[in-house]
Symmetry: D2
Subunit: 338 residues, 4 copies
């Protein structure tokens, strides 16, 4: 940790800071500059909290030098982690597209959706049985029967399923229905009790970025899962909240290279929630792959205009197929396959 003293700090102020460092079992390194004295704390700085120094007299600010994340950090592991879902690799050379409807509605809808997913060449399927909705009066998802419809449509087509877990009490049911990838939604990125529980199971987890989460907070949320023993974590950028009102969110493409520099884990992108309109999805999806994403999470509905939620952001089966073929070209251009 580095502690910057105020220019008016007294010798006693400095001595108190040094004392506090030593009490925590670290040693100090004092550097007197032209305008400020700086104190470095040598040892495991995780034992120290900047806040405790910043309220001491004569201290201007204190900051950690080492990043707070460990297991998910690139420093902890050489190379990239490839998360395998029923044998399908996420984070390797091949880009994976996970497609399907926003919400599970009926067995017929799911059957048509699964067929379209397979036909377009996607290898995993998504569908929401439990839906986080802004309004308590909106459709909240089919619940458990939704898990069954999703699994019934996907399994015969060898499509592993991805679905969102909102309530910690439902985890057991997810395991019963053999959900292949547990999705943690943006609103639950810092639902720490939920993170701790999925950290204890041996299932891949897609961790969506919170609406206004910094990269550091997102990495720490993943660290909660990893600290429990589950290292099969996939980050999913899905747009952040900004001042712009012309579209729902701003897809933060910069997060892709920046995150990949910090972590060895895979990073995918959800272009559907980011933009909120189907006509934006192809541009955003292509950009994501060009920027280095390891996969996509795309909404597709057999008949978007009849969709029970987020109707305006779902691609049609034809649009999904067309997107897959444009993606192939971009993937090749950046040395990846689809």
């Amino acid at each position: 940790m580095i502690i910057v003293m105020q220019h008016t700090a007294s010798a006693a102020d400095l001595a108190a800071v040094v004392d506090k460092i030593r009490q925590a079992g670290l040693s100090e390194h004092v550097s007197r500059g032209a305008e400020r004295t700086i104190v470095g704390a040598i040892g495991d700085e995780r034992a120290l909290s900047p806040a405790q120094f910043e309220l001491m007299p004569g201290v201007e600010r204190a900051m950690h030098v080492v990043k707070p994340y460990r297991i998910v950090s690139r420093e902890s592991r050489e190379g990239n982690t490839v998360v395998k879902v029923r044998g399908i690799p996420i984070g390797g050379e091949a880009i994976q597209v996970i497609a399907g409807p926003c919400s599970v509605e009926t067995p017929e809808q799911m059957d048509a959706a699964a067929e379209a997913v397979r036909a377009a060449g996607c290898r995993l399927m998504r569908g929401g049985a439990f839906k986080p909705r802004t309004s308590p009066y909106a459709f909240q998802g089919l619940g458990i029967s939704g898990l069954a419809y999703l699994q019934n449509a996907a399994r015969p087509r060898q499509l592993p399923i991805v679905t969102e877990l909102m309530d910690v009490r439902m985890l057991e049911v997810f395991l019963e229905y053999d959900v292949d990838v547990i999705q943690i939604g943006a609103r639950n990125m810092q639902n720490f009790d939920l993170l701790k529980e999925v950290g204890k199971v041996n299932k891949p987890v897609i961790l969506k970025r919170g609406l206004s989460a910094t990269l550091s907070e997102w990495l720490m949320a993943a660290e909660y899962i990893a600290a429990g023993g589950n290292h099969n974590i996939i980050f999913c950028e899905r747009g952040i909240r900004t001042f712009e009102t012309a579209y729902r969110n701003v897809l933060d493409i910069t997060a892709i290279p920046a995150l990949k520099r910090e972590t060895h884990l895979p990073v995918i992108v959800d272009p559907s929630h980011a933009g909120g309109k189907a006509w934006m999805v192809p541009s955003l999806a292509l950009a994501a792959v060009a920027a280095g994403a390891d996969g996509l999470l795309v909404e597709m509905h057999p008949k978007p205009c009849e969709a029970w939620c987020d109707a305006d952001q779902a691609l049609t089966p034809q649009e999904l197929s067309a997107l897959m073929s444009s993606l192939r070209g971009v993937a090749a251009a950046v040395g990846r396959t689809l």
Copy 2:
């Protein structure tokens, strides 16, 4: 709902929109302007979703006219709701200050804290037993024993207690320990399953605003609680996330008058989390009361420099007492009491 047609929309496009409105059991009102045709849907517009219209050919945009919140809305009730906590009114003429440490640490610390809270003239006490921490390696709160320490210190001094509930599975324990006010933290503002559960109990709830939640989303989160039958809801503004890095959050003072225009429920402010530094707290607290807040949630620690978390934002007992006396003057100037 209002649907604005594109300037290139055809007669068939318009007819399809009208059809869709009628199918939902509403009637239409078509207004042909100089540059755009506008369709109004007459009837209960909650049956319609803008998204379903926005993907129709020839539609430029569709929007609801009526606000989506009902029970919490000012339209639903005349006058202001006063939430009573063991007889102490929140939302009336008197401003209530809820004070106490960030986290419960030891029985001795809690005893000293409760004494200081009482001595300063505050009528409710706060303290965290379960702490939402960014890092899994940080102190996570004492848990259940923290509830006991808090209650043991507060009860003899007739101080109702306020503490945060993070995990739906702990609600029963909160009821056992007779927690007086359940706090829902910023990170859980859209943890809908948690909201639904606290909606079923008969306890006042402080609902903190999410870090980047709009007023509308916040009101809808309250609506989740209210829809379950629990109308004892207190909104708590605690700073929003912006681009500014000179302080932790930006206290959104404008939210106070704006929220009070929309809802009949009380609005309080947490100046401690907003600024993140003890030296900012008095300015922010005075501003909140001047702007019309019904109360404050303030961090105070018997010895801030020994606090286990957020040490730099806690007031000392002396600072809390001093703040209470400045608050009295401002409260009087705006026609309130303390």
Copy 3:
């Protein structure tokens, strides 16, 4: 314009609104819904201001239906505008990369830079003679002699030049030095007097997006230029300001398809300022082209570690050449050429 009345609005309130509409020479269309009465104003709504209605008794809100931009709007012109710079088309099938150093430093540096720009296959050159710097004590650019160095290095290599105009009093000098494209920087996007002046000359203008400008404000800034008679406008997305501190700005890739839907003018991207680090530039540049950008504005310095400003975001000549060849693949994949 649409005016939504409050649910408590009286007949007199409604009559006053209707009166005001008629006084402005428009006619009204009143639609009485189940919960709200809505008034449509028929005629040229630009004569009306929502603000004047919103302060009338009984009015909930008022909003324009027609977009406020005209000349730059897609509605004003079929197809895409191609801006020609000394014969080089921007906005057509070919993607143009404008490269060069952040600031003009010396004749030797500019000569080396121009050679590298040409060698990499870029067709236009950038370089700053007047630099907007956060600090008054930082290097402010060489000024007029910088224009000369830039022109002397670029002209022999047939590279049209792009450089930033900050001060309206310098416009004449820019014309004297035959600057080919005038760049308006992010901080001056709403320097309306500057916009008006460049609107009067017959030179292509690159209009960078303000740090927190909405698409609508950006389009209106372009409208200022267009209203003066100069329609040779190129939009340049360069990252927006958000809460994220891991990188300088967030490149708003969604702005590309969204802007192209609203305007017929070309849209380019500056990946260098967006990320602020050279290692991010290739990812962002590839993403921009994949998303549909018509060109790029890229910083390259013969020796980045000796650059007088923004040293950490400049590519080396080798990195620029490598980027050009990756761009070619992505451009081809989305049906463009480089």
Copy 4:
């Protein structure tokens, strides 16, 4: 400056950093920690740029220790600066309210406005002759004749005038018309050429905060003015841009104590532009004074519903008088006068 080396940095990397420090005429102080080596540069760190270190091999990050502002900094001067405008002190014990219409419209309007300003007990008057408008088709202000109307109405009532300067070429006219306080608007906060020019004259300047300017950028903008020799600078907080759409801007009340900690110059608040609605103004104005503001800039129009711009945010003369009397109570409660 502090340079943090990567954990993988080699001895050669470190040597290169040390070399670069010495070449700039500073000396180094190397501190080897458990996980990172940290290098402190001893001497005038303004000679060094973090960017130039961050692109060196083995460097993780580099940061300045000393704040970049000098003249405006609290370190440069003991106590608070009181700016005098025709003998009226801004920044002392007395809080000053500057009131008047958004734009100068007619001599009659200005006469009525000046009379209302005086009657309410305000001691300075505002009015816009040159208006920065988002749309080129909106009313752009009366221009020079507006200055005359403003001065004619204000001078006989001993009200010094405050008006906005947008174009550097108009400065001379402002001096001719004896404008008492030059206002630099939010959109021009980083119009550096304009700042440099007003830095050369001997007139008080109100410097509004840019829509998304950090405190540091705002202080540096003031430093531009101060560096030219003009130290009569008044900061004006007027709301920042955030994700919230329920009101125009978020008044950043935290900026008041935070700015006052950094600078000796006065800080005032514009509650009218912040909220954008007249009904919010009293709450925001009271909060500003409670938080420590030295003054207010308030919009008042003799007949708001006839105002040519921003009609919905202007107070009536009666509302202004009522506000002044509530302000008196709050001012007294925080030890100030009005």
